[in-house]
């Protein structure tokens, strides 16, 4: 290859002018950086198609996207259990579990190794009630016992208030509460729990000779 260098040295098949620089000129500087991420455009792009067809397909696309999030095919990984137990945990039911599949495919068309338990859809209300009822039933006897002992021991407003609050909570969850509870609340057949009502007789009974202390 080096041997034929000498012959026909300055005869090019194309004219040198066509290259864009003359002999002896330095080559145009090479780019040292990659081309810019958003190069300036020479020509503006053509506007998008418009029309009824285009609008309908746009609406279809957005609808499909939104509805596909609600289908059972949209798989979300189950949340890993954190070490801290949150209060909201008992109110969040229907959480996806990794080992259940939310829809029932035709297993005869799939390889056997993919078979996974199918999760039965259930009403959202059913689950928490079922778990709460036995807990509440178990707690009821304990509370009753506790109340009796407390009644015998002390009759201060403080402990009574506690009991009433618990009873109130029990009453809300179980409409068929015992009549024993009603006595405390409906002594005079008012909506107010008697123990809460303070008719102001004690006000001013304390001596207010020492006005050094502030009264809140």
């Amino acid at each position: 290859m080096a041997g034929s260098r000498g012959r026909g040295r300055s005869q090019f098949s194309f004219s040198v002018d066509a290259l864009g620089f003359g002999r002896g000129d330095s080559l145009p500087s090479s780019a040292h950086t990659p081309s810019p991420l958003f190069p300036p455009m020479q020509f503006r792009p053509v506007p998008l198609h418009t029309g009824e067809e285009v609008d309908y397909m746009l609406a279809l696309k957005q609808e499909l996207r939104a509805s596909s999030k609600n289908l059972p095919f949209h798989i979300k990984a189950a949340r890993t259990k954190t070490d801290v137990a949150h209060y909201s945990d008992k109110y969040q039911n229907g959480e996806t579990k990794n080992n259940c599949i939310e829809w029932s495919p035709d297993w005869s068309r799939m390889p056997k190794e993919l078979c996974i338990k199918v999760r039965k859809p259930r009403k959202t209300g059913a689950k928490p009630q079922l778990t709460r009822k036995p807990k509440v039933a178990a707690g009821k006897e304990e509370v009753l016992q506790k109340l009796e002992t407390l009644e015998k021991r002390e009759e201060e407003q403080h402990s009574e208030e506690e009991e009433d609050e618990e009873k109130k909570k029990q009453n809300e969850e179980e409409p068929d509460a015992d009549e024993d509870y009603d006595e405390e609340d409906l002594e005079d057949e008012t909506d107010y729990i008697m123990s809460y009502f303070d008719n102001g007789e004690d006000f001013g009974a304390d001596s207010d000779d020492n006005m050094d202390e502030a009264v809140y």
Binding site: S15, D17, K61, S67, F73, I75, A77, S108
Partner: protein, 539 residues
């Protein structure tokens, strides 16, 4: 699988099925074929999640499974069908086509089957009837028979087809007779003789209107009922899927007809439409041209509404044949002249027009002129390019180098001597249509990927605002349902301030624009892909 294709597949899977399926899917695409254990190990996801993802992918026909390298005794291997994932981009177009051909019923049938992958006929009919009844005014309901007739029409014209037989390895009994198909060759749906045969189902009744209050119970009852009803209807185990190839042929025909009407006129496009319609069933999918049709047949098949007389038809046909686009060709003289539609040549011309238009919009009309020149004349030297294109030397050189740097134009060296000395070599510029089409196809995939990423970014940036507006809409809806006064409604509406409203409006405008662009780029993808497939089929 190129990097851009993998990226686009990942984005599409994430949009429709969530992050878990996206992870599983992209890993499977990159690896080719994998077993379940290997996939779970490599993606480091829990085995159950991988199983669920594969179930979803198999249900939608995006993943095929079969006996692996170790034969039927070894573990099952899975592979992803990338083309099927790309079809997800085109779902709105399929649904709109079904609507234009078969009305709302057809549209809903195709939409349901697309969203669920495969469905039995009875479950489709019930779901669609319920949906239609929901939209109808109070008291009316949709009869099942109407939906069944729409379904049968779709099957008769081959837009829906039965799913191919499941591989026998999944059912223990049939393992002896039919060996598992090798994972590389999935069973073609058309190889099944009953591919387009409707099953006999005894399904009578009407769509049920679902009250919003009894949603939960209705779901439970419906779920229970569906299981018992399916087996009663008699079409258990017969699943239907959308026949994408048929839709693609329809799109191709539409493209040809619109091209003819743009180039010539409305009447000639009607003639081409008639010719294509007549040869719909007789032409196989990958044929280079339709069956030969005589002019007499075309005249008889022309709808009278077009009002084309016989001698006018002959003139139009000769015009179409002489057109340089070569949509229609003449293959004989019997029966008043035998004509065919040149499908592959039409696709090549459409692809060429796409390439030219891309160059024109990107680089200007003079660069487009050079590009067209090179397409026509194949190989030209730089001097010849300047002369033929009638562009001054300096500018021509600039444009040529720019096209060269973008890889749209290639340089061919023809040496005069065995050593490629530059002084003794011809340098010819050339454009090859097929590689350039592939290049533009990859650019299009990248474009759609970019559009989707930008849309996700915009949505993420304004997530807080979107959530707030959704909550306010929900509050408004519930207030209106319970009959609140106008004062309360305006008070709730004012919770969104005016600048926030403007921001929401501009966000919505941007997302609409991005979505619309995706649809439009998909049309280009379809055209280029059909052209590339047609060249591969003819080889």
């Amino acid at each position: 699988m190129t990097a851009q294709e993998v990226r686009l597949c990942g984005l599409l899977l994430q949009e429709h099925f969530g992050n878990v399926v996206e992870k599983v899917g992209t890993h499977l695409i990159r690896s080719g074929v994998l077993t379940l254990r290997a996939l779970a190990h490599e993606t480091k996801l829990p085995l159950d999640l991988v199983k669920k993802s594969l179930c979803v992918l198999v249900q939608h026909g995006m993943c095929t499974f079969g006996a692996g390298r170790r034969g039927p005794a070894g573990p099952v291997e899975y592979r992803i069908n990338c083309e099927r994932v790309f079809h997800m981009l085109r779902y709105p177009r399929y649904i709109y086509t079904a609507k234009s051909l078969y009305g709302d019923t057809g549209e809903l049938i195709v939409e349901e089957i697309l969203q669920r992958g495969q469905m039995t006929m009875s479950s489709t009919v019930k779901t669609v009837a319920d949906r239609l009844t929901h939209n109808m005014p109070e008291g009316q309901s949709m009869d099942y028979s109407e939906v069944v007739s729409a379904f049968s029409q779709l099957v008769e014209t081959h837009f829906l087809q039965r799913c191919p037989l499941a591989s026998a390895g999944s059912s223990s009994s049939g393992a002896v007779d039919t060996p598992l198909p090798v994972a590389t060759q999935p069973t073609e749906p058309e190889s099944h003789p009953d591919c387009y045969k409707l099953p006999y189902i005894n399904l009578t009744g009407q769509g049920k209107r679902r009250r919003s209050s009894e949603d939960g119970e209705a779901d439970q009852c419906a779920a229970k009922k569906a299981r018992t009803d399916d087996s009663e209807c008699g079409d258990d185990r017969i699943y239907w899927q959308v026949n994408f190839q048929r839709f693609h042929l329809h799109f191709r025909d539409q493209a040809i007809i619109s091209a003819v009407s743009c180039k010539l006129d409305q009447s000639s496009s009607e003639i081409v439409r008639t010719m294509l319609r007549m040869s719909e069933v007789t032409t196989p999918a990958h044929a280079a041209f339709t069956q030969a049709l005589s002019a007499n047949e075309i005249f008889r098949a022309l709808l009278s509404s077009y009002n084309i007389a016989r001698p006018i038809l002959d003139q139009y046909l000769s015009l179409l044949v002489d057109d340089p686009m070569e949509f229609v060709g003449k293959t004989g003289d019997s029966g008043g002249g035998m004509y065919v539609v040149n499908l592959h040549r039409a696709l090549a011309n459409l692809a060429r027009a796409t390439l030219e238009s891309v160059v024109q919009e990107r680089f200007g009309s003079r660069s487009a002129r050079i590009f067209r020149l090179l397409l026509r004349k194949r190989h030209l030297e730089q001097k010849q390019v300047e002369d033929f294109a009638m562009i001054p030397a300096k500018e021509a050189k600039d444009m040529l180098y720019k096209l060269l740097s973008e890889n749209l134009v290639q340089l061919q060296e023809i040496p005069k001597t065995p050593d490629y000395a530059p002084s003794r070599t011809f340098y010819l510029y050339t454009v090859n249509q097929l590689p350039t089409a592939r290049l533009l196809l990859q650019h299009s995939y990248k474009t759609v990927g970019n559009l989707m990423e930008r849309r996700l970014y915009e949505t993420k940036e304004n997530k807080r605002l979107l959530e707030k507006s959704q909550r306010i809409e929900a509050i408004l809806a519930s207030l209106q349902a319970t009959g609140a006064e106008a004062a309360q409604l305006t008070e709730v509406e004012e919770m969104i301030t005016v600048p926030e409203r403007q921001q929401l409006e501009s966000l919505r405008h941007h997302i609409n624009k991005l979505d619309s662009s995706e649809n439009q780029v998909d049309e280009t993808i379809f055209l280029l892909k059909s052209y590339i497939n047609s060249t591969q089929a003819s080889r």
